[in-house]
């Protein structure tokens, strides 16, 4: 049961990554690309971490994975902010 749940969660996560990548490639300007990317980063990684936590089943593993997700979100937030600000300053990009 938990295996199937894990697979389902990871697949959902992967689909977010896929959508994010398609968005990154297809969207016209920096802001909308960032929008697509953050979906992949936050939700995609979140679902994959959740799936792995279910698969792993241990408490320490879950905490580790939670850490991974939180740190990645933190870095993503700041870098997305910096990129967006740079895009505002240089409108031709």
């Amino acid at each position: 049961m938990s295996t199937w749940l894990a697979i389902a969660l990871i697949l959902i996560g992967c689909s977010f990554f896929l959508a994010g990548t398609v968005g990154l490639l297809r969207f016209p300007d920096t802001h909308s690309r960032l929008h697509a990317l953050t979906k992949a980063d936050n939700l995609g990684l979140g679902f994959i971490c959740a799936g792995l936590a279910v698969h792993d089943g241990s408490l320490t593993g879950t905490i580790h994975l939670l850490f991974v997700w939180a740190l990645a979100m933190m870095a993503a937030t700041v870098s997305a902010f910096l990129i967006a600000r740079w895009a505002d300053e240089e409108p031709e990009h």
């Binding site: 740190l71 933190m74 870095a75 937030t77 700041v78 902010f81 910096l82 600000r85």
Partner: protein
């Protein structure tokens, strides 16, 4: 399952080849650098896949991460040095001697891959003497046993190589006025302070954890030093470390601490043993921790300085970020 893993391996291998090919053949400098960084991360995944977490960690931190940062700052240097704001100078993309080189490399690649497949297929086991030496050693992690004791001499020389690279860079910087790469900014962007405020303790903790755990599990001075170096790089990039024209004595001490203490230890070993570099009986663990700690400091300091491409750094308004 094995078909699946075969497909996965093939995808990784092809991905590596494709990225490497694009990195060496793509005309733009920036594109090549980014492709190389991706190459580094795929390489780290490959090593993890091969069951070498130690190495994957080092590859991700040092090779992909720090080399990537170095290369990106080389792109930035190409901008600053030419006084050009936005556009990378024409990185000469001319390709010469394409056909002879292609012929040589195809031949070499073919011969190498055939021979390497053959060699790797030898089912060599770890020699029993080595396995025994590693398992009976006072230190628990086989890699640490090799790095600090059995092949400690190589490690000593390797940190000396790192120091020598800095000394060489130092000579270059003394020869000419290269524009500063990471000039301090008047304002720091809004989100950077909170990120650093959170990242600093996390990175410090992780580095110390890696250092400590290196005694029995994957990790060690190198990974920890690289992480601390990464922290230093972040501080340099955000202007918390300011470039200097000279190397203050404390930094010099930090630079030579690792190779210096290791070399002194190697000589002192003659007082308690017949051989240089031998560990004192009964105090192996303590000596190893002490050496690893000095190595970690030196690696962190040297990597930070190498990245900043300045003779020295000093801290600016530490702790008063929110007046």
């Amino acid at each position: 399952m094995s078909l699946l893993s075969l497909i996965f391996d093939a995808l990784l291998g092809l991905g590596l080849l494709w990225l490497a090919w694009r990195a060496v053949s793509s005309p733009g400098l920036f594109a090549s650098v980014v492709l190389f960084m991706v190459f580094g991360f795929v390489m780290a995944i490959t090593w993890a896949r091969l069951g070498a977490p130690d190495l994957a960690l080092a590859e991700a931190a040092i090779s992909a991460g720090l080399t990537g940062a170095l290369l990106l700052s080389a792109c930035k240097a190409a901008l600053t040095d030419t006084g050009n704001d936005n556009e990378l100078p024409d990185e000469p993309s001319t390709v010469r001697r394409r056909w002879p080189a292609a012929l040589i490399c195809t031949g070499l690649g073919a011969v190498l891959s055939i021979v390497m497949i053959q060699v790797a297929a030898n089912r060599a086991a770890v020699p029993p003497a080595l396995a025994e030496a590693v398992t009976t050693h006072p230190l628990d992690n086989p890699i640490t046993v090799m790095l600090l004791d059995l092949r400690g001499y190589d490690t000593l020389l390797e940190v000396t190589v790192l120091l020598t690279a800095f000394l060489g860079v130092r000579i270059l910087l003394e020869q000419t006025e290269l524009p500063r790469l990471h000039a301090p900014r008047a304002t720091t962007p809004l989100m950077v302070d909170p990120l650093l405020a959170m990242a600093t303790p996390v990175l410090l903790m992780t580095a110390l954890y890696l250092f400590w755990t290196g005694m029995e599990a994957p990790g060690g001075a190198f990974q920890a030093g690289a992480l601390l170096g990464a922290l230093g790089v972040m501080y340099t990039l955000t202007g918390r470390f300011e470039p200097l024209d000279r190397t203050p004595v404390l930094l010099r001490l930090g630079l030579i601490l690792g190779p210096g203490m290791f070399a002194i230890f190697a000589c002192l070993a003659l007082t308690w043993s017949e051989w240089p570099l031998a560990y004192p009986a009964g105090a192996t663990g303590a000596a190893a921790v002490a050496i690893e700690f000095t190595l970690m400091i030196s690696i962190a300091v040297t990597l930070t300085l190498l990245f900043s491409a300045t003779p020295g750094l000093h801290a600016r308004h530490m702790g008063v970020r929110h007046p």
